[in-house]
């Protein structure tokens, strides 16, 4: 049973307690298009790194709220996908993509979970979990386990390579092969 919606998450997305999943979806869609790369609304407001950080914060808040609200009743609304309906990349995003995406460097500190880097990259691009699940056709539970490096919930390493490549490609990262290799090496250090 998920917790009640976090008030600071609600506030971040400009929602009031009692907001429905529909409210949440609309608020997040607005936030996502606002903070997308190349968005007119934020022109002259922030540096790109700041923009990504804000988008990541909003996306993380959205995911937590979506999980909380899933448990509660939502009359008249389908129980399944609450993902934004638009394409994988946020609207107004004409410049970002594989070439402009920051390379997942800084992964070469061996103890760090490479899944955390994937998560950071995903959030900074405003790609919510259920959107990624739809895009990759991988179950959200597996994607979460990948991000958390939760070996107990992960399948055998032989299946993981394909998951990581699909994940990395779906969020527009280059070097998906190298990422998968690093991920498996990291799992080995964990004795998986």
């Amino acid at each position: 049973m998920p917790d009640a919606p976090d008030p600071s998450d609600l506030k971040l997305l400009g929602l009031r307690p009692g907001a429905t999943r529909g409210d949440l979806r609309r608020a997040y869609q607005r936030a996502r298009s606002t903070w997308a790369a190349g968005s007119l609304a934020t022109y002259g407001l922030v540096e790109d790194s700041e923009r990504e950080e804000i988008l990541a914060r909003l996306t993380a808040a959205y995911e937590r709220l979506a999980r909380s609200l899933e448990a509660g009743p939502a009359p008249g609304e389908p129980n399944s996908q609450e993902a934004p309906q638009d394409a994988r990349q946020p609207r107004g995003d004409q410049v970002s993509g594989a070439e402009s995406a920051p390379s997942p460097a800084a992964v070469d500190r061996p103890p760090a979970n490479p899944g955390a880097t994937l998560r950071r990259q995903r959030l900074s691009k405003g790609i919510a979990m259920e959107l990624l699940a739809r895009e990759t056709r991988i179950r959200p539970a597996i994607l979460e386990a990948l991000e958390e490096g939760d070996t107990a919930r992960l399948p055998a390493p032989v299946y993981i390579r394909g998951f990581i490549i699909a994940y990395a490609q779906a969020i527009g990262l280059d070097e998906s092969e190298a990422l998968a290799r690093r991920y498996l090496e990291w799992l080995e250090t964990r004795g998986a």
Binding site: G14, R30, A31, S33, T34, S39, A41, T42, G44, E50
Partner: protein, 309 residues
């Protein structure tokens, strides 16, 4: 609807936006008329001290009395400088035209003007501020009960509007820190060394905890009480209709202020024609898309006051 009686001091609305030429004055003049038509008495104050022309937009000749007559103390009270207009419930305080130095009001003059604006005998006082982010403009903007930022759906205007919001945020921050030592520390935080990475608004507010633990909470409350409306003028394509909500959301999420979407105003050829004919758009072309949008804006602004006035 009956005219509200003038029991308390007027609600001050201020129109700003950083960039010239986005339609602030045309919107101000027509908004003043639409608001007056809703049974609310309005004084339109032309504070575009560098290039006043509200009287022309209202189809009036050159007024005998101007705001400068009050500022330069030829007239004792601001209310005496109100020029009547043919619109019921609407009075005008005309601007000065291009008087050298007029755009640089001194501090004492500014305070006196602010005080007198509060004593005007109407329900709403609508300030048409000039372009730019000078303290003159900013202080009237953040000192108003309701700020209205006007921009257009193009990069230069949005950039200027965002810079204007940033400047207004800092001005509001400084003005909401009442005690002197506190204020000077905030000033110091804002004026960082040139080579340092500038603090984000969020970091700036958090850094105030170094002065006093409760400070960030207090500052956040003060900023949440600052709720400018974002209006996007000359919208041509449907994709730009989302811009007011996006810009307001960005300001909420970035500065922590309670910005909200005042709406968009469609591009309308009849605006240019009515300006050339020296007739307010809402009078010459009441059915024009521009007129409808300005009417909705008047409704939204009046509704925003109903909840917190």
């Amino acid at each position: 609807m009956t005219t509200k009686n003038q029991a308390s001091s007027p609600r001050i609305w201020a129109i700003g936006g950083g960039k010239g030429g986005v339609g602030k004055s045309v919107i101000a003049a027509n908004l003043a008329i639409e608001t007056a038509r809703r049974g609310t008495t309005v004084t339109l104050v032309d504070m575009d001290l560098g290039g006043a022309n509200a009287h022309t937009l209202l189809g009036l000749g050159a007024p005998t009395l101007k705001i400068t007559d009050f500022v330069e103390r030829r007239i004792a009270t601001l209310a005496e400088t109100i020029t009547p207009t043919p619109v019921g419930g609407l009075g005008l305080i005309a601007g000065a035209g291009a008087t050298p130095g007029a755009a640089n009001t001194r501090h004492a003059q500014k305070e006196r003007l602010l005080r007198n604006l509060r004593t005007l005998p109407s329900n709403v006082v609508l300030l048409d501020l000039g372009a730019g982010t000078a303290f003159n403009v900013l202080d009237f903007f953040v000192g108003a009960d309701l700020g209205i930022v006007v921009t257009m759906p193009e990069h230069t205007s949005v950039e200027n509007a965002n810079n204007f919001l940033r400047a207004a945020f800092f001005r509001r921050l400084v003005r909401s820190t009442a005690t002197r030592p506190f204020r000077s520390v905030i000033r110091e935080l804002i004026a960082q060394p040139q080579n340092a990475q500038p603090l984000t608004p969020r970091q700036l507010v958090d850094a105030a905890a170094g002065i006093d633990e409760e400070a960030p909470k207090r500052l956040r409350r003060a900023l949440e009480g600052f709720g400018p409306a974002i209006v996007v003028n000359q919208v041509r394509v449907p994709g730009d209709r989302a811009l007011p909500e996006q810009m307001a959301g960005a300001a909420r999420e970035y500065f922590g202020i309670a910005a909200w979407a005042g709406g968009f105003i469609p591009a309308d050829r009849l605006v240019g024609r009515s300006v050339r004919e020296r007739r307010p758009v809402v009078e010459a072309f009441p059915g024009a898309p521009f007129s409808a949008a300005v009417g909705q804006l008047a409704d939204a602004l009046l509704a925003s006051g109903a909840s917190d006035a």
